[in-house]
């Protein structure tokens, strides 16, 4: 069964770039996208029209979400009994020590900073995908 990656990113350009890299690599993955924190939580908690949404195997969370802060989404995921097992990879602009520490204290699985250079950014997304999908053993897929 294909692994399902949920990308939570509100910036259309960032979203497009990340999706482009993930899709082009020919790995057997399904992608779902949430463009803000409300949509992300609705998908994860299967609210409303998302009642049948499958649980993702991995979440890529842009910490610079507008609206409800990305940190709140992280905290909500990691305090939910049925959600906390899902690995969350943080993508952030900040390299400030306190931001990094806060994310790990909220149980982010890893923290990645987004470089400005597009070539470097592509390489980083490839590394993330490679590590989490081929090296790591992910939690067993949960049936809806």
């Amino acid at each position: 069964m294909n692994k399902l990656i949920l990308l939570v990113a509100d910036h259309p350009i960032a979203q497009k770039q990340i999706l482009g890299v993930l899709q082009e690599r020919g790995m057997c993955i399904d992608l779902s996208v949430a463009k803000n924190s409300v949509e992300a939580m609705a998908l994860l908690q299967r609210k409303g029209k998302h009642a049948d949404a499958p649980r993702p195997d991995l979440i890529l969370l842009d910490l610079n979400l507008s609206g409800k802060d990305g940190r709140e989404v992280l905290a909500e995921i990691k305090s939910g009994e049925k959600l906390k097992q899902i690995p969350v990879v943080i993508l952030a602009v900040s390299t400030a020590e306190e931001d990094i520490l806060e994310a790990y204290n909220l149980h982010a699985n890893c923290y990645i900073t987004k470089p400005i250079d597009l070539g470097q950014f592509v390489e980083i997304i490839k590394s993330v995908q490679n590590f989490w999908l081929t090296i790591v053993t992910l939690p067993p897929s949960q049936t809806p």
Binding site: E97, L101, S127, W132
Partner: protein
């Protein structure tokens, strides 16, 4: 920091880590009690440094890896340290339990040496070059 009770496995992992050219120290402890004492700087470990990353075997004597993981992730002073569970198991309940206890990732230790070297190299590349670790 490497928590591994099997001296052969510890030696192999260390060799694999040395293949990389990065400069860092690896501290090895052999059982769960030592791991916790090291992290809490108790007894003989009063001067132990805080590790930036922990590779934790699940099957440890004295205090098993699950217990060690739970203690690290419930400790306000330690929970930020990324813990990679690195163990021979790939049983679903072990994997789920590890993520429930907030392991940062679960990596199944391969039995083949070549494969083991490859995996350790990948861990090193990813966690030390790509990821931003807490300072």
């Amino acid at each position: 920091m490497l928590v591994e009770d099997n001296p052969g496995d510890a030696k192999l992992a260390l060799e694999a880590l040395k293949v990389g050219r990065l400069r860092y120290e690896v501290h090895v402890v052999e059982d769960g009690e030592q791991a916790i004492n090291f992290l809490r700087r108790e007894g003989e470990y009063a001067d132990a440094p805080r590790p930036d990353l922990i590779l934790l075997d699940f099957n440890l004597p004295k205090k098993n890896g699950r217990q060690v993981l739970a203690e690290i992730k419930e400790d306000e002073n330690l929970k930020y340290i990324p813990v990679m569970v690195f163990t021979v198991s790939k049983a679903e309940e072990d994997v789920l339990r590890a993520y429930d206890l907030r392991a940062n990732c679960f990596i199944t230790k391969p039995s083949e040496i070549e494969q083991l070297f490859k995996i350790v190299k990948s861990i090193e590349d990813f966690w030390l070059n790509i990821v931003k670790l807490p300072a």
